[in-house]
């Protein structure tokens, strides 16, 4: 089977909207689940046809992104420049593909624009650019930048006596960067309780496990000692994510540190928890199999590895 270069034919995702405000939790969870499924399918197409991307980290984070944009963040295409919008900062900028797909799913950019991903002069660079893509808050890519920026924004909200919230998604390997710990000290000093740090705790980084490289554990203790309220969730469980990410402040006076236990590549059987898929591109057979798996599950399967089950609260 030969592979066609990325084109508008590969941008097949339906446009999703926010549910009405009075929707039930069950409706919201179902909505997020469907969004996550669609985003993964579209993202797989992007990476496959563009021949580049970070699919492991994308799939690890998509349930978090879908939850945020589908039901948590007070932001939409029409309020993308509203000073009072909630802010979401993607610190692990290498999953730009997942962010673009999510933004397209919720109407921030035309779905067909996804066809320009990585192409010459495209706004959709391999790392997000706030000057080119509506909805992007910071030009990330080098790890360890998003959390300080998020602290700065949360400080601005506090100065404004505003209720707007700040969310930042960091990789777990990324937490090896000292800049994060500088920012965490400051967040706690300034009691930024409307700041939520979400860690995509997939226990893999670029070349190996975090444990083999530079162990983050005991991560909850680290974050608690740096003054955060710490909560652990299954990062592929939309209900858990929805509940925790909506709870702001989680502990009054303290910033929140959500450890979202995830699998890189989730839920594709041969990608899941496999470090090789950090930035590998599927071949045609792998693409087919991944697509079949994504299309046939009603919603992404929850993580099944015994390690993950054991570790969740």
């Amino acid at each position: 089977m030969s592979k066609a270069a990325l084109s508008v034919e590969h941008t097949t995702m339906p446009l999703l909207g926010r549910l009405p405000a009075h929707s039930s939790r069950a409706e919201q969870v179902a909505h997020i689940a469907e969004a996550a499924r669609q985003i993964r399918i579209q993202d797989l197409k992007l990476v496959y046809h563009a021949g580049a991307g970070h699919i492991g980290g994308d799939f690890s984070a998509i349930d978090i992104l879908a939850t945020l944009y589908g039901a948590v963040l007070e932001i939409g295409p029409e309020t993308v420049a509203d000073p009072e919008r909630d802010r979401f900062i993607l610190s692990k900028g290498h999953v730009a593909g997942a962010l673009y797909t999510t933004l397209a799913a919720f109407g921030f950019l035309p779905i067909t624009e996804l066809a320009t991903f990585l192409k010459p002069l495209s706004a959709l660079n391999g790392h997000p650019n706030r000057t080119k893509v509506a909805g992007v808050e910071a030009n990330t890519g080098p790890l360890g930048h998003g959390l300080p920026i998020a602290v700065g924004h949360a400080l601005s909200a506090k100065l404004d006596v505003s209720l707007r919230r700040t969310y930042v998604l960091v990789g777990d390997g990324e937490l090896q960067e000292g800049s994060n710990w500088e920012a965490m000290m400051a967040a706690s000093q300034y009691q930024l309780d409307r700041l939520t740090v979400i860690v995509d705790r997939n226990r893999l980084q670029q070349g190996a496990t975090t444990k083999e490289t530079n162990d983050l554990d005991p991560l909850p203790e680290k974050a608690a000692a740096f003054g955060f309220a710490v909560v652990e969730v299954n990062g592929h469980d939309h209900g858990e994510l929805l509940d925790v990410l909506s709870a702001v402040p989680f502990r009054p006076g303290k910033p929140t540190f959500v450890i979202a236990h995830t699998h890189k590549g989730h839920p594709v059987s041969f990608m899941s928890n496999n470090v090789a898929w950090h930035h590998k591109v599927p071949n045609p057979a792998e693409y087919q199999q991944a697509m079949t798996e994504l299309e046939t599950v009603g919603q992404p399967r929850l993580a099944v590895s015994p390690r993950l089950d054991k570790e969740l609260r």
Binding site: P83, R87, N129, R130, T131, E137, A138, N139, T140, G141, P142, G144, H145, L147, P148, I149, A150, V151, G152, H153, A154, L155, S156, A157, L159, D160, G178, S179, E182, A183, M185, A186, Q189
Partner: protein
């Protein structure tokens, strides 16, 4: 021999940090969006009075320069206009990737104020000297780089920076300097100021060295050498026209700055003349990790005194 009776060298001297804090406080009164961001550098930035006047608007992140610049970028995202105030050596060396990514490439409305730059920290040594800052920032796209020469220009540059939307770096001198501009001076990016007309040789300078270049020109005039003195506060964008005119109209250019000789103002001038009108340029600056010594001692050592600059100019025209 001309009698030089009102030499700039005899004027009273000012620490530009005083103009800095005064102007920052005025700006903060006028515009609620303005905030300060520091790395435990309240005292060394002379911001104690600012903190008293605006306790919530001076954000001290602690000794953490990466966080300092990242936080500034986030504050800008929230609509604030942060003025980051930190020793230029640490601000630029420690947070360079944040300056590149979170400020310049992100095009955020952050003002970076490099305090006590050059060799102002004298005996504290090369780790505290900020002679590389200009070259480092010049290599990054999208950054306006200003090196004011006196309190008036420091204030004017700050006012200009507060009014434009986008990244600006301003060096704020600690080493005291005489006032070289009239009180009415306003800053314009990309514009050199002719401090003295002349047709034999051109001296291009800025910051703490400008007045020394002006005194050098006085000395040269006394010998019958007519030196043009161009003040070049705007290292980026550079006033290409003024540099090319100097290359065309005088026998050569001396650049003199409190910076490394590789890639600073001298480098910018060299790159300009070779591409527009090749001419001789002598680049004066700090060519090495300086040995122990006061700021004044070091400037003399590297020929950045009036005499040193005049000597270099003489060699150029001879």
């Amino acid at each position: 021999m001309t009698v030089v009776d009102t030499s700039i060298a005899d004027q009273p001297r000012y620490d530009c940090r005083d103009a800095y804090v005064e102007t920052l406080a005025e700006l903060a009164h006028e515009d609620h969006r303005i905030v300060g961001v520091v790395n435990d550098s309240v005292g060394s930035s002379k911001l104690n009075s600012f903190r008293k006047a605006f306790p919530d608007r001076l954000i001290n992140v602690g000794i953490a320069e990466q966080d300092m610049v990242g936080v500034a970028s986030g504050l800008a995202n929230g609509g604030r206009i942060p003025f980051v105030s930190a020793a230029s050596c640490f601000l630029t060396a420690r947070a360079l990737e944040q300056i590149k990514a979170d400020v310049a490439y992100s095009n955020t409305n952050v003002k970076l104020c490099g305090m006590s730059p050059g060799v102002a920290y004298g005996e504290l040594g090369p780790t505290h000297h900020s002679i590389e800052d200009i070259a480092w920032l010049r290599a990054i796209s999208g950054m306006t780089i200003i090196v004011p020469a006196d309190p008036v220009e420091t204030a004017a540059a700050l006012r200009w920076a507060a009014a434009v939307d986008g990244p600006v770096f301003i060096r704020v001198s600690r080493m005291s300097v005489p006032q070289v501009y009239p009180d009415s001076y306003t800053f314009e990016p990309g514009k050199a100021i002719t401090m003295r007309a002349g047709n034999d040789v051109t001296l291009i300078s800025n910051g703490t060295v400008l007045w020394r270049a002006m005194v050098a020109a006085e000395q040269l005039a006394a010998e019958g050498i007519s030196a043009r003195v161009l003040s070049m506060p705007s290292v980026k964008p550079l006033d290409v026209e003024a540099v090319v005119a100097a290359a065309e109209q005088t026998a050569g250019i001396v650049t003199a700055e409190e910076s490394t000789i590789a890639g600073g103002l001298g480098g910018a001038v060299a790159e300009t003349v070779v591409q527009h009108h090749p001419a001789r340029v002598s680049i004066l600056g700090i060519p090495e990790f300086a040995p122990t010594g006061s700021a004044g001692y070091l400037l003399d050592r590297y020929g950045l005194s009036p005499e040193g600059i005049a000597d270099t100019a003489r060699r150029l025209v001879s």
